[in-house]
Amino acid sequence: MSASDFLAIAPLLVLAAGATAVMLQIAFMRSVPVTAILSMVALLLAALSCVSAAAITPLQVGALLSADQFSLLFTALFCVAGAVTCGLSLDYIRHHGDEPEEYFLLIVLATLGAGVLAYANHLASLLLGLELLSVSLYALIAYPNRSLLPLEAASKYLVLSGAASATLLFGFALLYAGTGTLAFAELGEKLGQAEMGTGLLMAGSAMIFAGLAFKLSLVPFHLWTPDVYDGAPAPISGFLASVGKAAVFVALLRLFLEADLFRYYKLVQLTGLTAILSMLAGNLLALLQTNIKRMLAYSSIAHLGYLLMVFMICLDTGSRALAVEAAMFYLIAYTATTIAAFGLLTLINESQVEREQVQLQQVSGLFWRQPLLAGLMLVALLSLAGIPLTAGFIGKFYLFTAAVSGGNWVLLAALILGSAIGIYYYLRVVFYMTRGADEHKHTVTLSPGWSGSALSCLLIASILVLGIVPQTLMAYLRSIL
């Protein structure tokens, strides 16, 4: 491997080195702040190294990893998201666990997995990245060991996710059996001239899609989502909902694009159907939720449904570039918004040691108790609902534009219908936050730590910036396609 190869995968290397360093540090000196800072430094360094790596892309590193602007952009995004999760976790962790240092280590490892997924253009690296991410998450979810709920959540996630991984792997195996290759691009070539019966390939691609759909919590593989999000520590729910999904989505998108799975018209149509079902079911399930974390979990199902529209749109080759651009923007906006929303829940929820769940009543009157937090939450919710001046709106607008360009009217109808339902439950939270001082019984006065508040402000600022002046990012996204 040449030096430039190393440079190209520098972010991954930095993350791996960071993980090692954290491990060593824990072995020698147990100190939560030091671990946290070390992890964050590692993550931010990795993000920075993406910038330097950008100069030499695109570059195929070994058989497994492809370093291009696309992977670097998302690796950087995941690293930043990981760092923010670390920061937000600080507040959370103060009240939990006896030895919370490994928590940060696991975040670094999960981020590494996500990074590998972003780089993956080979089924093996996809597998590695996915498992690195998932296994770290099992542990992270189960981390708060004083409560039963995280344990339950983790075991459900572990079993189901394991099954999904197995399905995915079986699909890989079938594809491999059919084509004799594992690299995406080659796969694409071979699929066109496959000797084996296409039935094998069809089944394989269906199983791959099913496996990844589980990770993306798409209908009908969505049942685990609310339970896991509900039971997990809020920052981890955020990480799972954002990075965990974005990384898988990126990998799936790359698989479809490079292996040109769009040739399986039926499969793409199935993605469209799944998208519609997810949009509707996700929003409907969230409709009357009083538990905010579950509500966000259901809404994340819907959001992934919106995103999944992209595959249908890609069928129209003229709109493919726009669709991918839309997906990228949406992912970035969605990641920022989701982490912010869950992070804010962390801050709100700080004193609720025993119960991980945040009920609507608990945010009642938040506007008057914690104006800053509530204001930030408002922006996050509006962004999720896709109201203008937020990143979420621009993301939705992108999808709209792409779908119109591709002429996908049914999907658009579902999108509008889903958004309509969505407004209700997002605004319900806003309404509870604005209820009068006399109407809320939970007058817990909280003082969120400065790091949490500062990070939230930063996130919200980025949501607003993306919503108000999106041109820079748009131009960049366009340039890397």
């Binding site: 506007f367 008057w368 509006l382 109201i387 203008p388 001046l389 709106f393 607008f397 709209f400 534009t401 119109v404 360009s405 658009l412 509008i416 958004s419 309509a420 407004i423 209700y424 605004l427 319900r428 806003v430 309404f431 604005t434 009068g436 002046v469 999106p470 041109q471 748009m474 131009a475 366009r478």
Partner: protein, 510 residues
């Protein structure tokens, strides 16, 4: 200038919000000063425009036709820019917006005790959003303001509203938001239709000629129509309005009725019909039918209400039916009537809501069955209520009459049958207006009731509004002069398709 105006209102909102820390009365002064400043700014800038520009016919596709025009790049990726333009119509509505903004502040002068700063801030932000709607030429920008003005309005209802505010605020938001999404869809479709060599554009002037034809055109037009009709509100999309009006605080009702509804009418006039002449013409009979239905239905339901504010709200549904009729009749009489109706209804209904707010503030009820004989205790209020009640039933001499007369006169040339049906509204309006006066102000007074009459502040606001309505009723020409060039620019675009309208209507009429 136009961007600055909007920014001024936005920033003033933040200032008002923060001013709450110092004193609970400071925020409202901030608001008053900010709105006055905005007015001043507008007038000062108008002074710089040569007088003959005001009479020049402005063709919508030509930037030089606007009284004021500015454009800054924003999102070139999609051909979106901060494009603002002002012509007589926008100017008129902007003046209405700022004027009623002042009224709104005055009407809730000492009503709000909870977080007055944030209240005023939301007021100002709503004004900013509405101003943006009236000025934006880029359709994306227009949509942005269209949506953004909802949030402060939502907060106004949700935080400072009355007993069923959660339901009302939610209904308001969902109705407008969902219809807004349909409009966004139409906007994007339109932008793709009009895509040229250098990508898509959202600029009004670029999109004027790019409407799709046939069924696609009709569907795209419907996206706009539904969004605007929801806001207008037209039958059968009006059901959010009675709830929102009833539950909103006084200032919120004033803003809702006075200006937010006008954005719907403005949208129809500025965008929906000019962008889709063909489809609009084919759709006109339906739209007019909805207008007539709205007039009659709103009037009947207004009569059925016992809640003062709900009654006024339904009367808005009825009155805005005239706007719908006027716009789709599409001749200069009817259009001028519709514009006049926007202004006159804005003023008269704002006044009635202010009245309702004052009553609720004093009596702690909006139920008219618990009022009665109030004239005894509050003759000034009674006189004001009488004035605006007869204004709203369209008594000649007031702006509302001029509006309804012109709409119907213009409509008659297009469809006598529709006119006859719509004229029923003149009778039904009398029924509910007088019923309202009877229930609230006439009848046997409750002698145990103590009630303060209007004070100087409220009275002066009322007198100004009365003067405006009388002025509009007796000498409306300045208003017509202001908007005539705009209409002359728009009319020829549609003259060819619209000329087929009477024939089309005669086919559907008995």
């Amino acid at each position: 200038m136009m961007l600055q105006l909007i920014l001024l209102l936005l920033v003033a909102g933040v200032v008002a919000w923060q001013a709450e820390r110092f004193s609970s009365t400071l925020p409202r002064w901030v608001t008053v000063v900010a709105v006055l400043l905005a007015l001043l700014m507008l007038i000062a800038n108008l002074g710089g425009i040569p007088a003959e520009r005001f009479t020049l016919v402005s063709y919508p596709g030509e930037p030089q036709g606007w009284l004021m025009y500015s454009q800054h790049a924003w999102i070139p990726r999609f051909g979106i820019s901060l494009e603002f333009g002002m012509d007589g119509l926008s100017l008129l509505l902007l003046l209405l917006t700022l004027g009623l903004g002042l009224v709104a502040v005055v009407s809730s002068w000492d009503e709000i005790e909870f977080k007055p700063g944030l209240f005023q801030a939301n007021l100002l932000w709503t004004l900013a959003g509405v101003a943006g709607v009236f000025l934006a030429l880029d359709l994306f920008l227009f949509f942005l303001f269209w949506e953004v003005m909802l949030i402060p309005m939502y907060l106004l209802i949700a935080i400072w509203g009355h007993e069923k505010r959660a339901y009302a605020a939610m209904k308001f938001f969902i109705f407008t938001q969902v219809s807004g999404l349909l409009m966004l869809l139409s906007i994007v479709v339109l932008a793709f239709q009009g895509a040229g060599e250098d990508g898509i554009s959202f600029s009004y002037s670029d999109l004027l000629a790019s409407a799709p034809t046939g069924r696609a055109g009709m569907l795209t037009m419907l996206g706009f129509f539904i969004a605007f009709t929801v806001k207008l509100p037209g039958f059968p999309f009006h059901t959010w309005l009675p709830d929102a009006h009833t539950q909103a605080p006084t200032a919120g009702s004033v803003l809702l009725a006075g200006i937010l509804l006008k954005t719907g009418a403005y949208g129809l006039l500025r965008f929906c019909i000019p962008l889709f002449p063909e489809a609009s013409m084919q759709f006109a009979p339906v739209a007019m039918g909805l207008g007539v239905l709205g007039i009659v239905y709103g009037a009947i339901l207004a009569f059925a209400q016992s809640d003062f504010k709900r009654l006024v709200a339904y009367s808005s549904v009825s009155h805005m039916g005239f706007v719908l009729l006027g716009l789709y009749a599409w001749n200069s009489l009817a259009l001028q009537g519709a514009i006049m109706q926007m202004v006159a209804h804005g003023v008269s209904t704002a006044a009635l809501f202010m009245m309702a707010g004052a009553l609720q503030h004093r009596l702690h009820t909006r139920d008219m069955f618990r009022m009665g004989g109030l004239w005894q205790q509050a003759p000034r209020m009674g006189a004001c209520a009488m004035f605006f009640a007869v204004a709203s039933l369209g008594l000649p001499g007031m702006g509302n009459f001029v509006a309804e007369f012109l709409v119907l006169a213009g409509l008659f040339a297009v469809s006598p049958w529709m006119t006859a049906a719509a004229a029923l509204g003149l009778i039904t309006a009398a029924v509910y207006s007088l019923w309202m006066m009877q229930q609230a102000f006439q009848g046997r007074p409750d002698n145990n009731r103590e009630m303060a009459d209007f004070g100087v502040r409220e009275m002066s606001a009322m007198l100004v509004m009365m003067a405006v309505l009388l002025g509009l009723g007796l000498y409306p020409q300045p208003l017509f002069d202001l908007t005539q060039p705009v209409l002359e620019g728009l009319l020829p675009r549609m003259s060819e398709p619209m000329s087929a309208l009477p024939r089309l209507l005669s086919e559907v009429s008995p």
